[in-house]
Symmetry: C2
Subunit: 401 residues, 2 copies
């Protein structure tokens, strides 16, 4: 597998573009169009929030067909909690794009992100789709990635290539994240495009597996959104022999998909609202994988741990306290905690000032690793998160103004 | 029931005092002593965190006797995650107090709050206990309440009187809170003193019921601590006829206890770290009480909701999103949301700019009420919380320095 520079982002058979159509009050881009020049296999993962935006309801139904050709995404308005009118607006958006691109409306998927409870400005969207359709380009991915941003500071892209079945296959994705990032939802917006030839049931299986170790392993603020989705389109333009289930080709494709989703997930955390640090939390020695993940997520979500990280304070007591209320099987007197290479806690006891000083140095870095060993079993999990800073409060106190 | 001014805080048969003994780096008080002049019935509720401080382990064992006479509490050092030495130090603290006050060590309860992972300075504690024992006073409660404070901005006291069985009975409590406040733990430190005559099993029953609607109904930052406990001592000095289970006297006492614990719980939230607003979240129309509470707690814990409250932004979409991921049975199209008297959402739909403006005015107040009706059943729950401000980050980023 070869990781490409995102500057040369391009996927055979796909075009994209992003523009400002007037949903956002500023002149920032707010409309993305992604187009496959042929029918593609489509798989989707959607938020588990019971309150689902219109686009999520619509796409989840469409995804059952396993087919798709177009994604139209807007930022600035979530079209969530908008009732029947919201659903009609999402359908109308798909119809407009279908008409402009000459495809079946059933092949058009809609995604939205932004403020909840406001209606889509359909006229602006229609004009925007017409314009964007005329600008679609094989090299338009930076624009596309920019136009789905909300509080993101930079666009998120990732692209890899691999030889599969004698053909060079490309797997590439764009994502937006920032706030409301938390495991066990379909997470923010992420669109993955590949020219591999694969049937949609197998594509869905690969996508679900990939999401588990990428978007379902990150947390920014513990909130899960109404609009999050990951869509993956495979249009077969690489003309490889269709990937067989359980084959080594499937493994290769899975590795490519994992690389792209993990890269995008890490970019989302790095760009977490107000984040000053990227934090990897590894829990080892848990009884089973679910407990390993639960322990890591609980530490990652703790406001007290996150503020201590922001303050570069090796306050391991807060980590221990979080493990204690995580609900997993743990025993203080067996637990080890390290920050960076500094072993702060062994068998539940602090290891003194030298370890504290070493940990304090590790905490000054932009990337921090916290390793916890529960010594209760053999399961392990890794969660990526960020610290909680003043900036998070500032961004979220004033989000709508 | 009569609510007394805390300036005349006094409970027959009890004395207290608080001093600075040198645990805290500043000259602030850090040692509290509470003494009953006779053997008292004792009931305790302790943290559910698996990582329990030495004092919690010790007191939970002692509380099985249902008896007690002394509480010695320190702030500045939690004596948590301190292993065998920590347990020995907690025992030694009880022994010193027992010796100074001429009581059985089994009657002395120990409480600690502060930084985790550091050992108690026993010599300073010993000198402090000797000094405080000499200063014990029937009017020493303000000092006692001050000496258990950590990041609290003010001491928390509450006192009521009631005629029970022909006698005037006093129920009074002191508490400390601030960070790490969350339901389903025994919550921070709270000591309740009463001169009522009641057997300890019934006292425990009353205390558990009282905690459910007070300390288990508040959340500041979602973290639960290793040290939290509520101790309730009833010394019988009022000489009422011992309260019988199920009697109207029990109801009267329960009302007094509820008034004190609810007052202290509300004070804890009002003084939440960095809090600028006191927020009451009422969920109605839930399927059952557990779901009502879960929905209210999920909204109360959401960082996005809490920052919007700080920003005085009536961003009801975040409330709806939190309800959606709370896991309770809800249906967006049935849900109503009000802030103050402004009905922002009816049957899942925003009610327009006039309602937004009215809610914005309500959000400018120091006290805010959010009312949610799920229209799924008849159960109801109330949770008290505060907003999430820059100040919370500042306090918790620099807590140990």
């Amino acid at each position: 597998m070869r990781i490409l520079d995102t500057k040369s982002f391009s996927v055979p058979g796909f075009k994209a573009w992003g523009i400002h159509c007037g949903i956002k009050k500023t002149d920032k881009k707010d409309l993305t169009l992604i187009y496959s020049d042929r029918d593609a296999a489509m798989a989707g993962v959607f938020t588990k929030n019971r309150v689902k935006a219109a686009c999520v309801q619509l796409d989840a139904a469409k995804a059952k067909s396993g087919k798709g050709q177009v994604i139209v995404a807007n930022s600035g308005c979530a079209n969530a909690c908008t009732g029947k009118r919201g659903l009609a607006d999402a359908r109308a958006t798909a119809d407009i794009a279908a008409r402009e691109l000459g495809v079946n409306p059933a092949s058009v998927y809609v995604a939205s992100t932004g403020v909840i409870g406001e209606f889509l400005p359909l006229q602006k969207l229609e004009a925007g789709i017409v314009t964007a359709a005329g600008l679609l380009s094989p090299a338009g991915w930076e624009q596309a990635a920019e136009a789905i941003m909300t509080t993101d500071l930079y666009p998120k892209l990732s692209i890899v290539q691999e030889e599969i079945g004698g053909k060079i296959v490309t797997v590439a994705g764009i994502a937006k994240g920032s706030g409301m990032i938390h495991p066990d939802m379909a997470t923010m917006l992420c669109f993955v495009m590949t020219d591999v030839n694969i049937a949609s049931p197998l594509l869905k299986k690969c996508l679900l597996s990939s999401v588990e170790t990428s978007f379902n392993s990150i947390t920014v603020d513990g909130d899960t959104s109404t609009n999050d989705m990951i869509l993956c389109m495979a249009n077969g333009a690489a003309e490889n022999k269709r990937i067989a289930a359980g084959s080594k080709e499937q493994k290769k494709f899975q590795a490519c998909l994992d690389s792209v989703t993990r890269s995008l997930a890490r970019q989302v955390v790095r760009d977490g609202e107000g984040a000053t640090k990227f934090v990897e939390i590894v829990v080892r020695g848990a009884k089973n994988p679910a407990e390993a993940k639960r322990a890591a997520v609980t530490v990652a979500k703790s406001s007290l741990v996150k503020t201590a990280l922001f303050g570069e304070d090796a306050n391991w007591g807060r980590i221990m306290a979080a493990l204690g209320y995580s609900g997993v099987d743990m025993d203080e007197s067996r637990t080890d905690i390290s920050i960076g290479k500094a072993k702060l806690v062994e068998k539940g006891l602090g290891q003194g000032k030298a370890a504290d000083r070493e940990a304090a140095l590790a905490l000054k870095q932009r990337e921090v690793q916290i390793t916890i060993d529960l010594h209760k079993g053999k399961a392990e999990a890794t969660i990526w998160t960020c610290d909680l800073s003043n900036e998070y409060i500032k961004i979220n106190a004033a989000y709508r103004s």
